[in-house]
Symmetry: C2
Subunit: 203 residues, 2 copies
């Protein structure tokens, strides 16, 4: 199979509890041209985590230096720093591999600025009640935390209106096949095709 | 299954012999939300053809009157007139059915003017030699006709560079699944989703 299109980033966002991780895992399992993004982080490796596979584990002063333009996006999560190195993403794209990133809206907007060709996919719950139920069944959530998460979810969903694609996760099967279809269709988009193709055929 | 997106036209073009008809038939067989476009024509019905299913058979004076704005596209083919009634397309779209049209580049450009949301898909042969071979194996083509068709094909392929999507038909299986993926992905595009969805969920 020839690889005619240019590789691209697939940014997947959506409110907490909507099922993003499952959809990303299924995309990775079904499409071998897509690979997972790897973040750099200042936190220490947990048991079983491998540097360069799960994360790039780096020192805080190195991270601080890289914040000056070397990350496609970065964030402070409870004191630990996480960021996606532009150089990693660019190397994968240059190698013809599409890269999927599961990130929040703030990170997604940052990525889009560095990589304007990124495909932005937002996952929606079938209803707000459904999302509330999913967050509750996670079990580890107090009433107050749940309230905060739901308020955040409302804000996030409103922001989702700016994404390229919206997927309603009312069925994992259907939502997975929609995500896979988006990636396939984007490869067929004219602006991603090797420019040589049409000019070669019409010569 | 809820129908969240707005219906749209799928315009399929490509050089003669590239396999458009097969791909359109496969799309119709695999996606029951897509229906085939029906043309109006001034030619008489052939045996087995049913008015309103295969064509709308209409009188020439009626066709001539409709040429003044009632067709999404029309053409004179060896003296018989063929055209796609806008009213037919609009009725299908209003009913939530996507409509696929297998038409040449001139017709496709006309359709896009009346229906700017139309999804434009161009089918390419894997190589020019391949296209030549396909045209020859059709058997009914003289050397001179073949030359003319190949010259036309070159012009058509150059025009394909303006379409939204390009599909290389090097494998019917792959090309069919790409066309199906394009339709699925387009349904997920934000601008086709019911606007109410996000605003309802984030309320």
């Amino acid at each position: 199979m020839s690889r005619l299109s240019h590789a691209f980033l697939i940014v997947v966002s959506g409110p907490s509890g909507v099922g993003k991780t499952t959809l990303v895992e299924r995309l990775l399992a079904s499409d071998r041209l897509v690979r997972r993004s790897i973040s750099a982080t200042t936190r220490t490796a947990r048991s079983g985590e491998v540097d360069g596979r799960d994360y790039f584990f780096i020192a805080r002063d190195r991270f601080e230096a890289m914040k000056n333009g070397e990350f496609a996006e970065w964030a402070d999560v409870h004191g630990a720093l996480y960021g996606t190195p532009k150089e990693f993403l660019q190397r994968e794209l240059d190698g013809g591999r599409d890269v999927v990133l599961n990130i929040d809206i703030q990170g997604a907007n940052q990525v889009k600025r560095s990589f304007p060709g990124a495909v932005m996919v937002f996952i929606l719950p079938p209803s707000f009640n459904d999302l509330e139920a999913r967050l509750q069944t996670r079990g580890d959530v107090s009433g107050e935390t749940l309230k905060v998460r739901l308020a955040n979810a409302r804000k996030e969903i409103a922001a989702g209106a700016t994404y390229d694609y919206l997927i309603v996760n009312d069925s994992v099967e259907r939502a997975s096949s929609e995500l896979a279809a988006i990636v396939t269709a984007e490869r067929c988009r004219r602006e991603r095709q090797a420019r040589d193709l049409v000019s070669e055929l019409s010569r």
